[in-house]
């Protein structure tokens, strides 16, 4: 018995109790699902907060008595207070960026897919992995608790710029709510750091025999490079958050200069600089948007190739552009600060690096298009969301070229043009990729198929609603509508704007409602969906050689061996239109191989999946 076999038996040899198996599990698949479920809960909450924002912006000052009775604090008499509005904006951004997209994409998909796609039994540090997840619920609890403290939740925006966020007397939301916001974020960052360390080690150390770096699926490249980004960028935000906590509670002045007067009361701080926070924040903040988009870029590449039945076009350029984007993402943070008062020369430097990022982004886009050329496209729900991702990513990415130029940004900065830009490029694109990934990997996660019919309804409603919601925001921005304003009604230059805001809000309500189709589909399919085959999509990557769902330890007695790259779709001469990565080189592929059991089979046929090991 070799070490691997012994390890496998240790994993599968005995029954674990319910608590050890599903709650305090060290199995990467369970941890991934825990991250995903918690993220889904937070996504509903984050979406709900956006609905409050849209309700107010479409009909500012209008009273909604029913909501008033539900939320007497935030909407007394049914009319929203500015403090509640700002808390909704702030918490929507915070939740969606950190507690939904980061946790879902790296925590959820990363955990589930990395060991499976590289042919490992688990993460390198399973216990550390469990700790990483179990830091997430406490961070959620602290964050949600902030809604119930005096002054309400933080209201300084997800960027929490001091001095507003440093001085409790500056706004209701700068009180206890802001302290809890910082503590919550600090806890979550530790979770991200443990996860990143684990992902990097796992990808570098635990790849199956034959899985060279340039045979890795692009999903893994996206997740691996993201982990490197997280590990380098998040500590900076952690340090900044702790410094801001010190400013708030310890009497330090990292971010607060001398001589300030809030209202009529002088502030007892001296020597700090508010711009320091912006530099530290965006040194994380910009890599963070790539933390949200690199895993989607990888995932959609794999789903696209699978459903196009074609190898991904330009694999090496794809890998190189992921690495280039990641490297450049550390050199562009200043493009958030063109109007901040930093030296104009820095603006020129940051513009240069920012516009260079357009090049690897263009390479990826055109490579995806080239992948579709002469393809044989299957329009599964996963593929529809993937193609939706392409459209949304391009629409959002292109406006970045406008915002990247400081003279243009002078006008557009902090307007709804920016809101439209980042919602397209990192909000919508990332969430569409997450949906694509869910429809695609659900059979592997739960051993059951999702309903394609509901999946398509979900897409046919979400995609147009996404454009209806976010495209008109560009025009609000062109008109000069500022972000984070409780009401645009006071301004002369925004008169006549309201039809846009009403259209946007109607789009947002449709978009939000459409997501319940997904939730129904998800939970119903998890329990009642038809059983999934081992490889229902005819996919090449290793996870589709493991049973659906894979057992603890993933691979039975023998680890798979990898013989080829991840994109052997429609190779001339092969019996099927794909060859799995674990299929031995030079051996003809028998018809039906890798397709898994025939329909009606229960999908748990252990033998087949050890095939790679025999090679």
């Amino acid at each position: 018995m070799d070490a691997a076999t012994a390890h496998a038996e240790a994993h599968t040899g005995h029954e674990l109790s319910f608590w050890r198996k599903y709650i305090f599990s060290t199995d990467h698949k369970i941890i991934g699902l825990q991250y995903a479920f918690t993220s889904m809960f937070m996504a509903v909450l984050g979406g709900l907060l956006a609905m409050f924002v849209r309700l107010q912006l479409a009909w500012p000052g209008r009273a909604w008595p029913i909501l008033g009775s539900l939320l007497p604090g935030g909407m007394p008499g049914g009319e929203m207070t500015p403090a509640f509005y700002l808390a909704s904006v702030t918490m929507h951004g915070t939740i969606m960026i950190f507690f939904v997209l980061t946790t879902l994409l790296t925590g959820g998909f990363g955990n589930f897919l990395i060991p499976l796609q590289i042919g490992a039994r688990d993460m390198a540090f399973p216990f550390l992995n469990a700790i990483s997840y179990w830091l997430y619920p406490p961070a959620v609890i602290v964050l949600l608790a902030s809604f119930f403290v005096a002054g309400g939740a933080a209201g300084g925006g997800w960027t929490a710029y001091p001095p507003l966020s440093a001085l409790p007397q500056a706004a209701p939301g700068s009180g206890m709510g802001q302290t809890l916001w910082l503590i919550s974020l600090a806890i979550l960052i530790v979770a991200f750091l443990l996860g990143s360390l684990n992902y990097i080690t796992t990808v570098l150390q635990l790849r199956a025999r034959g899985m060279s770096m340039l045979r890795l699926p692009l999903t893994i490249w996206g997740l691996f490079v993201t982990a490197v980004l997280s590990l380098l960028a998040f500590p900076v935000l952690l340090a900044a958050a702790i410094m801001l906590l010190f400013d708030r509670m310890g009497g330090t002045s990292f971010f607060v200069p001398a001589g300030l007067i809030v209202g009529t009361v002088p502030v007892d701080h001296a020597g700090g600089n508010p711009l320091l926070w912006q530099h530290l924040f965006w040194f994380l903040g910009h890599p963070e948007v790539y933390v949200l988009i690199l895993p989607p870029m990888g995932m959609v590449s794999d789903i696209l190739a699978n459903n196009a039945r074609k190898p991904i076009f330009g694999y090496r350029f794809m890998v190189a552009s992921i690495v280039a984007i990641a490297f450049l993402s550390f050199l562009v943070w200043g493009h958030h600060m063109y109007t901040s008062g930093m030296h104009p020369l820095l603006g020129t430097a940051f513009m240069t690096t920012t516009l260079i990022i357009a090049v690897p982004s263009a390479i990826k886009t055109f490579n995806w298009l080239a992948t579709l050329w002469r393809a044989k496209i299957r329009f599964t729900s996963a593929m529809l969301f993937t193609l939706g991702f392409l459209s949304l990513f391009v629409t959002g990415g292109l406006t970045g070229i406008m915002l990247g130029q400081p003279p243009v940004d002078i006008y557009l900065q902090d307007t709804f043009f920016v809101v439209a830009h980042f919602h397209f490029v990192m909000g919508l694109a990332a969430i569409f990729a997450a949906f694509a990934g869910t429809y695609f990997w659900f059979p592997k996660m739960f051993g059951r198929m999702m309903s394609e019919r509901l999946g398509k309804w979900h897409f046919w409603l979400s995609f147009p609603a996404a454009y209806l919601t976010f495209f008109p925001m560009h025009y609000a921005g062109m008109m000069g509508m500022m972000r984070r304003i409780y009401s645009p009604a006071l301004y002369a230059h925004l008169q006549g704007l309201q039809p846009i805001n009403i259209v946007v809000s109607i789009g947002a309500f449709i978009l939000f409602a459409a997501q319940f189709i997904f939730l129904v589909n998800f939970f119903r399919s998890a329990f009642r969906g038809p059983k999934a085959e081992t490889n229902p999509w005819g996919a090449t990557t290793l996870e589709w050689q493991a049973p659906s769902p894979p057992p603890h330890g993933n691979w039975g007695a023998h680890l798979p061996t990898v013989h080829r790259w991840a994109y052997e779709y429609s190779p001339p001469g092969a019996a099927e239109d794909f060859i799995p990565q674990s299929h031995p080189a030079g051996v003809p592929v028998p018809a039906g191989d890798g397709q898994g059991p025939a329909p009606g089979g229960d999908g748990v046929q252990g033998d087949e999946h050890a095939r790679g090991g025999r090679g």
């Binding site: 001091p162 809030v262 516009l355 391009v394 495209f471 062109m478 085959e533 999509w537």
Partner: protein, 279 residues
């Protein structure tokens, strides 16, 4: 449910409808964007321009807008076309084609050239915007606070008096002038900001409490007011009239209402206003 979840193989032959619908939707995205932009131009567009540098800002904005619109139409058009042409309709296998160095270099180099062009033109304009103000420029200090704006002019001596936050008094000394500094004796403060048409103005922007941003859409001007730092910038208003300053950086619960009044007038009107008593 069961009949719908048939095998992969059966599913693959039912995609004509999805392909047509998606290609149609993508075409609608293109047409919708064009129509929406044409409609928006008539009523939801940039406010009329009223500054010298703004002309170049607008030109760069619209040149870039043109370039990205072309790319937007190109990508969506190709995507819609491929979605329709290469749907699974039971044809033989997809093409095993995944490398083409020339093609890949083309779409590396072409965007790189476009980006280089934009970088050079934007860098030139940016340095002109941030060049030293002309010596004839009117100088005004603008101080932001929760939730309003206050202007200060240096008076006949051309010197601003020192600020001493300890001497702040809401009624008697809202700008916290240091009463001991003689340079401050003739300083003129006002709740309104008055500027002279066609005369460059250098704004020295400060904040009393938190971050704010001085945004006058018609001037194509936006600059953050940073507590502890005085940020200078200049521009030249080109049309008389009354404008609004909006705060563009979240500054607290009254952020949405932090408006200020800017009046652009002739030199004579300005001189008369400056000499008159004001709030």
């Amino acid at each position: 449910m069961a009949s719908e979840e048939s095998t992969t193989r059966e599913r693959t032959h039912r995609f004509g409808g999805s392909a047509a619908a998606l290609a149609g939707l993508l075409a609608l995205v293109i047409v919708g964007a064009i129509v929406a932009t044409l409609v928006a131009r008539t009523r939801w567009w940039l406010p009329p321009l009223a500054s010298v540098h703004g002309r170049e800002v607008d030109r760069l904005l619209f040149v870039t807008f043109g370039i990205i619109s072309a790319a937007f139409i190109l990508v969506h058009g190709v995507l819609a076309l491929f979605v329709w042409l290469y749907r699974d309709r039971g044809q033989a296998r997809a093409s095993y084609w995944h490398e083409h160095r020339g093609l890949e270099l083309t779409y590396t180099i072409v965007p790189a050239i476009v980006m280089a062009g934009l970088t050079f033109s934007a860098a030139g304009l940016w340095s002109r915007i941030h060049s030293a103000p002309p010596p004839t420029a009117l100088i005004v200090e603008v101080r932001a606070e929760q939730f309003g704006w206050r202007a200060r002019y240096p008076g006949a001596d051309g010197q601003f008096g020192k600020i001493d936050p300890r001497q702040f008094n809401m009624q008697a000394n809202p700008i916290a002038l240091d009463r001991a500094d003689p340079a401050g004796r003739d300083d003129i403060t006002s709740a309104e900001i008055h500027l002279v048409v066609n005369r460059p103005v250098e704004v020295r922007l400060r904040s009393k409490d938190v971050l704010h941003s001085f945004f006058v859409p018609a001037f194509r001007v936006k600059q953050d007011a940073v507590p502890g730092i005085t940020v200078s910038f200049w521009f030249t208003p080109t049309a008389t009239g009354t404008y609004e300053v909006a705060c563009a950086e979240l500054c607290g619960v009254g952020h949405y209402a932090m408006r200020g009044k800017v009046v652009v007038e002739t030199q004579e009107q300005f001189d008369a206003w400056l000499a008159a008593p004001k709030s």
